[in-house]
Amino acid sequence: MSRRPYLREQSKSGWWLSQPRYVRYMMREVSAAFIGIYALILIIGVHRLSQGEIAYASFMASTKGPAGLLFAAAAMLFAVYHTLTWFQVTPKAMPLTLSGKRVPGGVIVAAHWLGFAVASAAVWLLVGS
């Protein structure tokens, strides 16, 4: 009786297309690209701010227009998806037990969304008004 195990190859780059759960995972990961680029744009904005009024004005002008709006819309969608998935996994990474009872994951997630609302309001007050 001879053993000759057979190794099935899988695509190193395209494996994630084979199942919806993997596609959702990849979307979650790609959200970091939009968030990272947005953060870099903010950094450039602060840099231009530090260079004076004219530099800042030209930076602001360059972010307007259809391309900027399109990026912002996409970044918004991915940022919200990041928030959604991040909150979803938090109860798994940090399960909470209060007075002997395990706090349901849904409660932890809801508390996070509440915190999100508060944080967003704070950002609005500080930056936007």
């Binding site: 494996w15 199942q19 759960r21 993997y22 990961e29 990474a93 002997g100």
Partner: protein
């Protein structure tokens, strides 16, 4: 619901004759309460006695009958035919070499399981005469969920990181390490660290979460690994801040 005729498309591989695996189709009259394992057993008994596969308990506690049903890792004894269309594609678990037909080579997992030292490492060895280790219900509740693993390997099959890098210790082994790390009778976290907190250990995991989705016993290995990442990070920073402390 009534009896249905189901086509099973099963991946066959005979190491003594075949160069590569190939599909073979069988037509099986299925009773309405059958699981896929019943259909496979029908094939073996009535249509093709050369078909090889693992199974034992037929009640989702032994972990033997893991296979991919229409691409999804599942226990054949736990998958009801009524939940499937008229054609079911049956393949051995992905990410493992095929030994023969639906039998996969499990050696890699067995080594990794042993490597995480899946047993209580007590502070002092106790003789049986000295009595039991005592544990409260609350202490048991901390790790009980992670004791449910039946080593069925569905999680390894679903894990894309294991597929991309087979040096990854993997969900089940890491969940079991977590089970012992959480056990109040155990002081072995630092002993397991070398394997668990290594690069091919928890740090290979990118929290895809597929492992927990396919687990038939709700072990939630993904959660176990993330909790271990936090605990390990804590240990790591404590080593710098308070090097005199040991667990």
């Amino acid at each position: 619901m009534s009896d249905r005729t189901i086509e099973l498309e099963i991946l066959r591989y005979d190491p003594e004759q075949d160069d590569a695996p190939h599909f073979q189709t069988y037509t099986v009259p299925c009773q309405e309460d059958w699981v896929v394992l019943d259909a496979i057993n029908f094939v073996k008994e009535n249509l093709d006695r050369t078909l090889s596969y693992r199974w034992s308990c037929h009640m989702a506690v032994c972990g033997s009958c893991g296979m991919a049903l229409n691409g999804e890792p599942a226990l054949a004894c736990h998958a009801f035919v009524r939940d499937y269309p008229e054609r079911i594609r049956i393949e051995p678990l992905q990410n493992f070499p095929i030994e023969r037909d639906l039998v996969v080579v499990m050696d890699d997992f067995m080594e990794k399981l042993a490597a995480v030292r899946p047993y209580v490492i007590a502070a002092e060895e106790k003789d049986v005469e000295d009595g039991e280790h005592l544990q409260t219900p609350a202490e048991l509740a901390r790790y009980k969920q992670y004791t449910a693993c039946i080593n069925c390997l569905l999680c390894y099959s679903a894990c894309p990181q294991y597929g991309l890098n087979d040096s990854f210790i993997g969900p089940a082994a890491l969940a079991l390490a977590h089970r012992y790390n959480l056990d109040s009778r155990d002081v072995g976290r630092s002993a397991r660290e070398d394997v668990v907190a290594s690069n091919p250990g928890i740090w290979e995991c990118s929290f895809v979460g597929a492992c927990s989705e396919v687990c038939p016993k709700s072990v939630d290995p993904a959660a176990a690994i993330q909790q271990t990442k936090i605990a390990s990070s804590g240990d790591y920073f404590m080593k710098f801040l308070m090097p005199w402390k040991r667990k």
